[in-house]
Each structure stands twice: as structure tokens, then as C-alpha cells.
């Protein structure tokens, strides 16, 4: 059996309603569970970048990437292992404000973990932590015993170590025209 690994798939696309559905259908059709999925406009105006994290074999991620790239509005697809990308996740932790003053230990945890207090009001306060999964998980474990009102974690955001060259691809198209 071929070994499964974490892969970060970066998909550069046009800004199009429904493309999200088209991409997720490619994973659904193959019964692949998506670990995380984020999207935003990238460094080029009107070009969007999806960051999709999956646990797959190398041959599997190659095939899926080709199927994604085949979609008309997809400009280019890359996939990378964890060591080929710089990646982070963000997490928010909402707690009762009383805990901040009654449990002095919490302040040490926040300090040691390099987390940040985003807001404090009489009822609750919110901590933000950006880092690797291990970092946000450790903070979760440390804070859990003091009572978390809410917890949420973002999908992975990532940039690759290698060059992607999307502007060049788009320029080639302009020249051909």
C-alpha cells in the first residue's frame, strides 16, 4: 500500500460563482475527506486561491490535482508536502472573564504560548493563537480545564517555498491573444 501523507493543494482560479461546488464535487466523487479548505483573493487582482489540505497517497493527489486543473476556470494547481510549504492555522478561544482574574494561571498560559487577547469585556474575553496545529491544540488542552465557552480553528493557510509563477501564466495568455 502506498503511504498517505498530508498534502496542501493550492488552486488558482478565476472569481466564479459555483466553482467551490465544482471543486468539492471532485473530492466527493472519489470519497476523499477534506481536512481543511480555505479561499481568498491572492496577490493578483481577481484571482482566487483555494488551499485544500488532504491526507492522500502521492499518486492519488496527482490524479485529483489534474482533475481540478481540468476545470475551465482553474488557472493552475500545485500540491506540496508539509515540508515544502510554510503554513499556519488560527484559533479563537472564548472564555468567561471571571476566569481571567480568578485563575491567575491563565495569564501565564497566554504569555507562554505567545497567544494574544483580542477583546475583553465584563462577561467574556477572546484569545487568538496562530501557529501549527500542535500549538493551537496545546493551548486548547491548557485552557480546557478552565472552561471554554467557544473554540474555533481556521483552515490551513499556506505559501509554498517554490515559485508558483501565476502572473507569468496569465501574461503568456495575454501575449498569445
Amino acid at each position: 500500500m502506498e503511504k498517505k501523507n498530508n498534502y496542501t493543494i493550492s488552486v488558482y482560479t478565476e472569481n466564479n460563482v459555483g466553482l467551490l461546488h465544482r471543486l468539492s464535487a471532485i473530492f466527493l466523487k472519489r470519497h476523499i475527506n477534506i481536512e481543511s479548505f480555505t479561499t481568498s483573493e491572492c496577490e493578483i487582482k481577481d484571482v482566487f486561491r483555494f488551499i485544500i489540505v488532504v491526507k492522500m497517497t502521492k499518486s492519488g493527489v496527482e490524479k485529483v490535482s489534474k482533475q481540478i486543473e481540468k476545470q475551465v476556470e482553474v488557472i493552475r494547481v500545485f500540491f506540496h508536502t508539509d515540508s515544502e510549504t510554510i503554513f499556519q492555522e488560527s484559533a479563537l478561544y472564548k472564555m468567561k472573564s471571571s476566569a481571567l482574574f480568578e485563575e491567575r494561571h491563565i495569564q501565564n498560559i497566554i504569555k507562554e504560548s505567545n497567544a494574544r487577547i483580542v477583546t475583553v469585556n465584563p462577561d467574556y474575553f477572546v484569545i487568538e493563537k496562530t501557529g501549527f496545529r500542535d500549538d493551537t491544540e496545546k493551548l486548547y488542552n491548557d485552557l480546557e480545564k478552565y472552561g471554554l465557552l467557544q473554540f474555533t480553528r481556521s483552515g490551513r493557510i499556506a505559501v509554498s517555498k517554490e515559485k508558483m509563477g501565476i502572473s507569468e501564466i496569465l501574461n503568456t495568455f495575454k501575449i498569445q491573444k
Binding site: 478565476e14 464535487a25 466523487k29 499518486s59 489534474k66 481540468k70 498569445q176
Partner: protein
């Protein structure tokens, strides 16, 4: 057409005319009525054929596209009209058929409100379309139609769906049309690398026992001549997938028959003996490869395809040649030495002799009284001189027709290959006829599939579309019954059919029709049918429990092909 305000509905018609469309298949309904009103006004320029079911309309558009090489167009209303297209869209997607579907949609202010006949056809059709788009403003129409036709026919062709809200059909705007010349995120024609041509040519020149397997890519790429030149110069035996059939004439010396589950004995066995397999415009479907682990594992593989996603999808290629095969075949042909592989080819001949003795002889010259599907196809060959377009449905008759029909010209074999859509043939045949009016079109259909879209006899009657319809009736869902016999100890669960009087049904539609049961009546009946200038339904009652052989059981290796 500059600077004159017209409605979105009229813009749909002008967009179609700008794309050279003169025939469209469909079915009207509430959400598409403004467009139909324009069809009425433009009927001298754009013929609309009313099918009897939207599935009939889309299969007809597919048949039209396959026989003519043009883009087929189907139109339906929202809701059930749109969902009834889905089977045909999925069929066109998996068989790479260029079709543009237009669906009406509820007004944009009603979207998402579960309005009457509202359905999310964009969401439903997304996984089975090459591209789709919902138009909510009339001003989007020209650009989206131009893109739709460009996407449907360029690169690897496929189905496109445009959903148009009713308010966009009524809205007035300044219409101006320009054809789509390119989309920056879409590269339909990948550049062929010189290295891939060099490497492929080297492998071909050094091969001792090479085998070509070609698919529909040769037909879709209009590369029949380039392919024939390549086959003839290389002297390599060539076998076809079901959708590649007719790209090279049946009688060609180097045509060694069909690969796959019910293909010929020789090319299947020798797939696992060759030292080089050259796959041209085909996608290594599981019905072709059997067990992929043992498939040609001893051979080097060259894979020519326009779609990069097909490379290494099912079978790993040693030399992928990505690009248009019309171009790549020509370049490879220029680089290879002229050869003949007579000793290797004699192996195919030897295996064909075995197949003839064990299978073909009794298929074509049966000793029993009952008629066979094989002799029915041979009778059709005789009176069409192999010059007809044969449209088949799905099942035993399809395999038999593909095995025994003679083909002289390309684009002559039209069948539902990838999706295996029963009910495809009758509507596809009427579409194929409209796409190739000067050619004879013979639909060969089983009694099961025939009854799935039998209502299209109404369309054939109303327009007097002169298709010849042959029902090979064995009163069974024959292929499923065959599997039940071989793999389920003859437990014939729901495969026997008590059929209606097919001749009476045809006559109910005022179509000429007859039934044949005896061998002596077969050829005269086929001759009458072919000579008729009108639509014709011929029911041939064949042996109830005949099987199609050779056969590769599911998941077995191609070299484990059985002759009985």
C-alpha cells in the same frame, strides 16, 4: 445586430445563429416560453424539433453531434425539464460529446424560494458538465453563449449547460456578438513536447511486438487520415475500443478487432504479450483493461491524449504524448521507419481462427432454428454495404453489433460507451440521421432499451425522420441475464420481459413495421427495410438465451478471456 435593443430570448436565438446552429432539440415549458416564442419567429432559420421527452431531446442532440462532428443543442424548461436532461448530459460527459444544453429557470427574484418548477440544475449538473453557468441578466447572454460553444467543442469536447432565468429572457439590452477565441484559465490544446515525440518514435522503432489500441480521440480529433498513415507506415496491428470503432475501416489489413470485455480473442490475449502498447485517444476504461495490475504489465506504454488528466489515471505511461493526436501522430509517423510485423501479425490471425471456430461460426451460421443477433447484423451489412451509421443501445445487441457490423467510413458507430445508457439508441438515431441526411442510419436496439425511450417514435413519425429501427428481441434483459447465468447460478431475477406487440405499437405511430421469426424471412425483410425511404421498424425475434462471447469476467486479466 449592433445597438438595437432586443430581448434576452431573442438574443438566445441570435447567439445560436452566430454559432452556426440550424437545428435544436427540445421540449417547451413555462420558464423557457419567451425563447420558444422567438423560435416561432425565427423558424425559417432555426429548426426546433419537439422530442417526446427531454431525455429524447438530449440523446438526439448527442447523436447529431456524433454523426456530424458539430455541436448538438438541446433545450428544456426548468425543474423536471432540466432534470430529465441529466442522463444525457452525464452520457455526453463520459463519452466526450460536444453538446450545449439550455434550460429555463424561474425569475431571479424567486431563486432559492422553492418556486414552481424551480430546481438547482446548476448544482445538479455540475459534476457531469464540462462547464455550466446561470444567466440572470440578458447582457450576459452573448458572452456566455460564445464561451459555451467554444468550451463544448475545443480540446476534449464535452457537455455545457446554460441556465437562463425567465426575467433575463424578457429583459431588453443592446446585443452584440463576438465569438470566443480563448479563456485565460483554460488551455484546450496543450503543446506537444518534442521529447515525447522523439521518445515515442524511438520505442516504436525498437519494438518487436507492438500493438496499437485506438479510441474515440482519433475521431474527435479528425485524425483518421493521420492515424491510417501511422498504422500503415509502422505496420503495427491496431485494435479499437468501442468508441474508436469506424475510425479505420473494418476491412483494413491491420485492423485486428476490438479490445475489452467482449472484444476479440487475439487483441485481448496479445495485449499481455506485446512489448509496446501505443494507446491513441483512449482512456483505459476498466471494461478495456480488466484487472489493471496485470494489463500489459510486460509492455512499455505510449499514451497519446489531449487531456492531461487521462495520463497515468488508470495505466502508467512510459511515454505520455500530451496534445492533439492529429498533430502528434503526423510527427511520430515522420520519425518512424517503415516496417511490417508479419510474424507478429500472424499470431492475431491464429487466434482469430480459434475465435472463429469456437464463437463466430455459430453466431453467424447457427445450426439451431432460432435466429441469432450475429446473423441479423450480417444481414444489415449485406444490404447497407457497410456504409450505414449504426446506432446501438446498451447490452448484448450492442456488443454483437460492434463485433460484426462492417464500417467503411468514420463517425459511423454511435453508441453509449462510458455511461452505458439504455434508451440511448432510438433518440440518438434520429439525431444522427438529422446530422447526416445523406447517410443510411440503422438503430439496433434490444427490447429492454427500446422501451425506455419508445416515445420518440412520435418524433420520428411527426417529422418522418427516415431511420431504420431494428429491435433484436430476446424477451430478456439479455446481458444481465447472461451474468445471472454465469455468475448467479441462473437466478433470473427480474430480467425476463413479457413484451407488447412492437409491430402494433409502430403501426400505432403510422410507421411501416414487420416482424421476423424465421431464418428464411430475415434477409428479405432487412432488404425491404433498407430499400424503404421512410422510417421503418423491424422486429427480429432472436434466441432467448444466447450469450455473448468472448468474455472477460469483471476484474479478471484480459488474457483470461473466455470463449465459452
Amino acid at each position: 445586430m449592433k445597438n438595437k435593443k432586443i430581448s434576452g430570448a431573442e438574443a438566445v436565438v441570435h447567439s445560436l445563429l452566430n454559432e452556426g446552429v440550424d437545428l435544436i432539440w427540445g421540449y417547451p415549458g413555462g420558464a423557457i416560453m419567451p425563447v420558444y416564442d422567438e423560435f416561432y419567429k425565427f423558424q425559417d432559420k432555426l429548426q426546433h424539433i419537439l422530442a417526446r421527452h427531454e431525455q429524447g431531446a438530449i440523446h438526439a442532440a448527442q447523436g447529431y453531434a456524433r454523426s456530424s462532428g458539430r455541436v448538438g443543442v438541446a433545450i428544456a424548461t426548468s425543474g423536471p425539464g432540466a432534470t430529465n436532461l441529466v442522463t444525457g448530459i452525464a452520457d455526453a460527459q463520459i463519452d466526450s460529446t460536444p453538446v450545449v444544453c439550455i434550460t429555463g429557470q424561474v425569475s431571479s427574484h424567486l431563486l432559492g424560494s422553492d418556486a414552481f418548477q424551480e430546481t438547482d440544475i446548476i448544482g445538479i449538473s455540475m459534476p457531469v458538465t464540462k462547464w455550466n453557468y446561470q444567466i440572470t441578466k440578458a447582457s450576459e447572454i452573448p458572452e456566455i453563449f460564445a464561451k459555451a460553444f467554444y468550451i463544448a467543442k475545443s480540446g476534449r469536447p464535452g457537455p455545457v449547460l446554460i441556465d437562463i432565468t425567465k426575467d433575463a429572457q424578457f429583459e431588453l439590452f443592446d446585443f452584440e456578438y463576438s465569438k470566443c477565441k480563448g479563456i485565460r484559465s483554460y488551455n484546450p490544446l496543450p503543446t506537444i513536447s518534442n521529447d515525447s515525440i522523439d521518445n515515442a518514435s524511438k520505442l516504436i522503432n525498437n519494438a518487436k511486438k507492438p500493438l496499437i489500441v485506438w479510441g474515440q480521440g482519433v475521431i474527435l480529433g479528425n485524425a483518421e487520415k493521420e492515424f491510417k498513415d501511422f498504422v500503415e507506415k509502422s505496420g503495427i496491428p491496431a485494435a479499437w475500443t468501442i468508441l474508436g470503432l469506424s475510425a479505420l475501416p473494418t476491412s483494413h489489413d491491420l485492423n485486428v478487432g476490438m479490445v475489452g470485455m467482449h472484444g476479440n480473442y487475439g487483441p485481448n490475449i496479445l495485449t499481455n504479450k506485446c512489448d509496446l502498447l501505443i494507446a491513441v485517444g483512449m482512456r483505459f476504461d476498466d471494461r478495456v483493461t480488466g484487472d489493471p495490475k496485470t494489463y500489459a504489465s510486460q509492455a512499455k506504454i505510449i499514451h497519446l491524449d489531449i487531456d492531461p488528466a487521462e495520463i497515468n489515471k488508470n495505466i502508467i505511461a512510459d511515454v505520455p504524448v500530451i496534445g492533439d493526436c492529429k498533430d502528434s501522430l503526423k510527427r511520430i509517423t515522420n520519425k518512424i521507419e517503415k516496417k511490417s510485423h508479419s510474424k507478429w501479425i500472424s499470431k492475431f490471425d491464429d487466434l482469430m481462427k480459434i475465435e472463429f471456430e469456437k464463437v463466430i461460426k455459430s453466431d453467424l451460421n447457427p445450426l439451431k432454428d432460432g435466429l441469432t443477433m450475429g446473423e441479423s447484423i450480417i444481414a444489415i451489412n449485406e444490404f447497407t454495404n457497410g456504409d450505414a451509421i449504426i446506432v446501438t443501445d446498451v447490452g448484448q445487441h450492442q456488443m454483437v453489433a460492434c463485433r460484426y457490423a462492417n464500417f467503411v467510413k468514420s463517425k459511423s458507430n454511435i453508441t453509449s460507451g462510458g455511461l452505458g445508457t439504455m434508451g440511448f439508441a432510438l433518440p440518438a438515431a434520429m439525431g444522427a440521421k438529422m446530422g447526416a441526411l445523406n447517410r443510411e442510419v440503422v438503430a439496433v436496439i434490444g427490447d429492454g432499451g427500446y422501451q425506455m425511450t419508445i416515445q420518440e417514435l412520435g418524433t420520428i413519425f411527426q417529422l418522418q425522420i427516415p431511420v431504420k429501427i431494428v429491435i433484436l428481441n430476446n424477451d430478456f434483459l439479455g446481458m444481465v441475464r447472461q451474468w445471472q447465468q454465469l455468475f448467479f447460478d441462473k437466478r433470473y431475477a427480474s430480467t425476463e420481459m413479457v413484451n407488447p406487440d412492437f409491430v402494433a405499437i409502430a403501426k400505432g405511430y403510422y410507421l411501416d413495421s414487420e416482424r421476423v421469426k424465421d431464418r428464411k424471412d430475415l434477409k428479405p425483410a432487412v432488404e425491404r427495410m433498407i430499400k424503404s425511404k421512410k422510417p421503418y421498424v423491424l422486429e427480429i425475434c432472436v434466441e432467448k438465451e444466447n450469450n455473448v462471447f468472448p468474455m472477460i469476467p469483471t476484474g479478471a486479466s484480459v488474457s483470461d478471456i473466455r470463449l465459452n
